[in-house]
Subunit: 227 residues, 4 copies
Amino acid sequence: MKVTLVSSTPNPIRLIADAARITHGKSQTYQSDRYYLDLLYKIGHFSVFEHVSFTFFIENISRACSHQLVRFRVGVSFTQRSQRYTNENGFEYTIPPSIQKNEIAKQLFLQKMEDLQQSYAKMIDLGIPKEDARFLLPNATDTSLFMTMNYRELIHAMELRLCKKSQWEIRHLFWYIRGLIWQSDPDLAAFLYPKCFHEGFCREKKPCSLLPILLQKKKSLFTDANL
Amino acid sequence: MKVTLVSSTPNPIRLIADAARITHGKSQTYQSDRYYLDLLYKIGHFSVFEHVSFTFFIENISRACSHQLVRFRVGVSFTQRSQRYTNENGFEYTIPPSIQKNEIAKQLFLQKMEDLQQSYAKMIDLGIPKEDARFLLPNATDTSLFMTMNYRELIHAMELRLCKKSQWEIRHLFWYIRGLIWQSDPDLAAFLYPKCFHEGFCREKKPCSLLPILLQKKKSLFTDANL
Amino acid sequence: MKVTLVSSTPNPIRLIADAARITHGKSQTYQSDRYYLDLLYKIGHFSVFEHVSFTFFIENISRACSHQLVRFRVGVSFTQRSQRYTNENGFEYTIPPSIQKNEIAKQLFLQKMEDLQQSYAKMIDLGIPKEDARFLLPNATDTSLFMTMNYRELIHAMELRLCKKSQWEIRHLFWYIRGLIWQSDPDLAAFLYPKCFHEGFCREKKPCSLLPILLQKKKSLFTDANL
Amino acid sequence: MKVTLVSSTPNPIRLIADAARITHGKSQTYQSDRYYLDLLYKIGHFSVFEHVSFTFFIENISRACSHQLVRFRVGVSFTQRSQRYTNENGFEYTIPPSIQKNEIAKQLFLQKMEDLQQSYAKMIDLGIPKEDARFLLPNATDTSLFMTMNYRELIHAMELRLCKKSQWEIRHLFWYIRGLIWQSDPDLAAFLYPKCFHEGFCREKKPCSLLPILLQKKKSLFTDANL
């Protein structure tokens, strides 16, 4: 898996703050840009966050992962490598950690991948169209895509996908994306957390131990912000 | 592949006509329900069509097909069988016609399916979680899902997916769906056609011969409607 | 203000439960329809709720209210009476309670409404097109519209608009709508509450006293449900 | 009316081309960025255009116009000046050209505006909350808003709103926006036209004379592009 931040809205926090300022007209007392970011988050006025978006180039995730990823529908756009038009001879693939760690399973997995690569090539040789030969390709097959997501949807997607109960590969992907946003806009990354961070409680039957740590982070976030 | 129309908006054309009537207030001359349906289509006022929706239970389509299907994002909702939580032992699968017709390819395909069924079962026996064992499952693996789509999005989806250039399985699926709507509401089915029907021309490099036939149908549709 | 439930998905809870059942395949132990409704709400799997929708005919709300209402964008469709094409001679209007209660303000308000009715009629007489004469019409002017909203978006809209901090007219509207759903599907109405009900805390600077009562309702809801 | 292009995706055509390139994998012959822009438009593959968006600050449009504008729902975000929280004493307003040109109508209009400004101020003095005093404010009252729209939705919105049948103020607004995009990205502006440009025919009962001119422009666009 490799993710690159290809493009993003310039001066995102200034833009969010400027948009927030006009809702109350000119009479509003002037406050810092950061003040508005914190305020909007706190009162749940998330629509203003939609003015900011990020475009990522995501390489070498499995089709299992991409099938789940493209289920996000609002505030997001995808352009994905097509298996209908691309020759997938010698396709790359992703090995799940649980299989990587189990020697017998790993050998079986690698053998099947090689086997399917050969069968796919044979199908193409037999004159089967690429769009039909791909019916053999496993979920492990790697894919690439461009994804543009606005900041509101990012907060929502991170809520779901940073959670420990989320599937490991898509969780990995969103932590990766979060790291890239952290590098470019740490103040925006500061609201990207699992759902429990926002709600203050865990919905899972078997909670992990992360909640108290996250709530502590949230508290210090608002203490710093001096709202 | 099997599709069932599970649920739909009662009296859809009456509802569309009633909604259309209020846009112009009470002063409007009374016209038949069918008149408004035709008028809205003709002037391109499609938003009124969103009040009507259909729910389908779609069984035994390939994951290749479902990956493409769930890319529709607006006016549509999906609930799909999960490969993370379901044991896919002895999974069912879809064979593309081009492979069905080629005896060598077909034998290879069937052999690989059996092979992958066994490998999947072995992974489960080795204690690999279902969500990771599924990395072996091929695109051919069958899935099931509920899909609710409003009538506006249906017109749009049919534009794209009834076209001969569309992939065979999803085209088959949408012709199937069109047939079900034809049975329940023939007047609504009358606007479900490939894009060329609506635009009057073909965007493909190698046009098929369908366009003149479709345009004739459209003409008779409006002659009957007496707009 | 008058709201009519024009149309809704037949057997909504059965449909939601059937959709939920397929996510885990056939192996799932059979549970009651109501069980799945409660479970989906509790674990936050709201997308399944999108299969169910409701269509309302909303009459005599102010344009102030409708301007806010049509800001909902996802899972919702509107068809509204147009002021461009409708002659608004003798338009009806909504009087805010704060003005109703203040005799001086009320007299001023009524006088201005009558005044604007006459001015509008005069504009039309002068040959000004309806779409321009309407520039005189006040926010108080009544409008009518059809609104179709799916159940997921209804939960979201109620979160925002049932809250005491919401503007009185749109809050009134959503309590009205909630009452209609209560009559047709009490089990679905049971999740339609202000945001605090779902989150367990209040985001407002000056909280009202409703929260403890709502949380008690929620508790009894889940005790009854025996999840 | 005043519109400012506040922010936009850097290097939009490069981004669109890069996204288009990955759909067919690495095997694709290299073509220029502009080639992909033209190709995607021609074959109707508009989803790739969603990666590019523009943010505008729109000042001094009427509430009549904004009510219509915020009806766009997909690929667009709005943050608008609120009449609930803003004191609208001495509000600014927009005069329709048809009224501007008719001296009697204009005098009546100006008199009513002054009248309503005074009545609004009096309401506030009487202690009526701003959110209720605004019920007096006319559709002509000016508002301001931030709007972010992606390029795909811009093409769609322009289709509807550049048409001569569209209401004059929102048509003016979108021609203004088109001009700003023309200055920053002329190749993107080249696809922003009324619907007839794209469809090749006019849906109106009384067509204007623009269609042949637009189709000529389209033809030369593709001749230049050398697809």
